[in-house]
């Protein structure tokens, strides 16, 4: 690729425009294909990865703009409070189910990750890296670090878990016959944190709000549960 074009990709706006274009194209495909597996986030990500590989544009150049978009994830998580506040009556009525659901989710996530890691004969550092993968990245990183895990593996596991939750959420609701919006939201947030929540929002506002609450509650519970491992 010629020097001028390559230097253009080093502009932060390049990554931003590329993300918007890829997401718009992916949303179009999603509407045409009508299958939950054609998830816009997944397709957009795959398209950009492919484009960077084929053209040889350095991923660092893309992430100059990408990091600006990623930066907005913090405020977006804060903004979930607006949805939660709008659903405050639902929350008041279902406070106990929400908290117990998160507890069940957090215990299951850690115990199943522990047992499967043992089953595969993974070493302790890998086990500790995978243990906190269902909660939001900063909490998962810290639990992993304190337990002697490899933080990079934890981050990868958190993101892959989140993508899986975001892509499969409606499928899982159908598979397990979950129709109650509160249960759907809590389950999505408990198993796949903010990434899953971004999908829960598209299912409905109650689902999005409950999923948002589950990010926080599951995160706190997981910090405490980590002492037992």
């Amino acid at each position: 690729m010629s020097g001028i074009l390559l230097s253009l990709t080093a502009e932060p706006l390049f990554g931003i425009v590329l993300c918007v274009a890829a997401y718009a194209a992916a949303s179009f495909l999603n509407r045409k294909l009508k299958t939950p597996l054609a998830n816009p986030l997944l397709i957009a990500g795959a398209m950009i990865i492919l484009l960077l590989q084929v053209t040889g544009i350095p991923p660092e150049n893309f992430q100059k703009g990408g990091s600006v978009i990623t930066m907005l994830l913090g405020p977006a998580t804060v903004a979930l409070a607006v949805s939660i506040h709008r659903q405050v009556e639902v929350l008041k009525k279902n406070f106990l189910p929400v908290v117990l659901g998160c507890l069940a989710g957090a215990v299951t996530a850690m115990v199943s990750a522990y047992m499967l890691s043992k089953l595969f004969g993974l070493d302790d550092s890998l086990l500790m890296s995978l243990l906190p993968k269902s909660v939001t990245t900063p909490i998962a990183m810290e639990i992993s670090r304190q337990g002697g895990g490899v933080v990079a593996i934890t981050v990868a596991a958190v993101v892959v878990t989140g993508i899986l939750g975001a892509v499969c959420a409606p499928l899982l609701c159908k598979l397990f016959g979950i129709k109650e919006p509160v249960a759907q939201g809590v389950a999505i947030g408990a198993c796949s944190h903010a990434l899953g929540t971004s999908r829960a929002i598209t299912i409905g506002e109650i689902q999005g709000a409950m999923s948002g609450i589950a990010i926080g509650v599951s995160g706190i519970l997981t910090v405490f549960l980590a002492f037992f491992f």
Binding site: A104, P138, V186, I201
Partner: protein, 122 residues
């Protein structure tokens, strides 16, 4: 201008929360602290929904898009995962499905239990 003001309120709450997060002895994300803080501000009436809802809804509705660079970034981690790719993927898929089921069934069961109890009291 209204939209920018609303956005700035949310950004400011996030910044304060990051500061709080840095002062905490344990790792707890600023974004989640900010979510709790904004919720409390709305609940207490210090902030009115109309002071944040337009920008708030904009951010929340576009949250999936905001994850695009994160998904692209996963490529960097492929080398660290290569040695244990199969167990890594199997563990993630199985635990995610189990966690979903455990949380969803617990919520459903507790809601039903509460409803039964509510009817019993009547």
């Amino acid at each position: 201008m209204k939209f920018l003001q609303q956005m700035s309120v949310i950004f400011a709450i996030y910044l304060i929360s990051v500061l709080v997060s840095n002062l905490l002895p344990v790792a707890f994300p600023g974004s989640v602290i900010g979510m709790i803080l904004l919720f409390l501000l709305l609940l207490s009436g210090i902030l009115k929904p109309r002071q944040v809802d337009e920008a708030g809804d904009f951010l929340v509705k576009n949250m999936a898009f905001l994850f695009v660079p994160t998904v692209v970034g996963i490529v960097e981690y492929i080398p660290v995962l290569m040695d244990n790719l199969l167990p890594f993927l199997v563990i993630i898929v199985v635990t995610t499905v189990l966690t979903f089921a455990a949380a969803a069934w617990t919520v459903t069961a507790v809601i039903r239990l509460q409803q039964k109890r509510g009817e019993g009291q009547k």
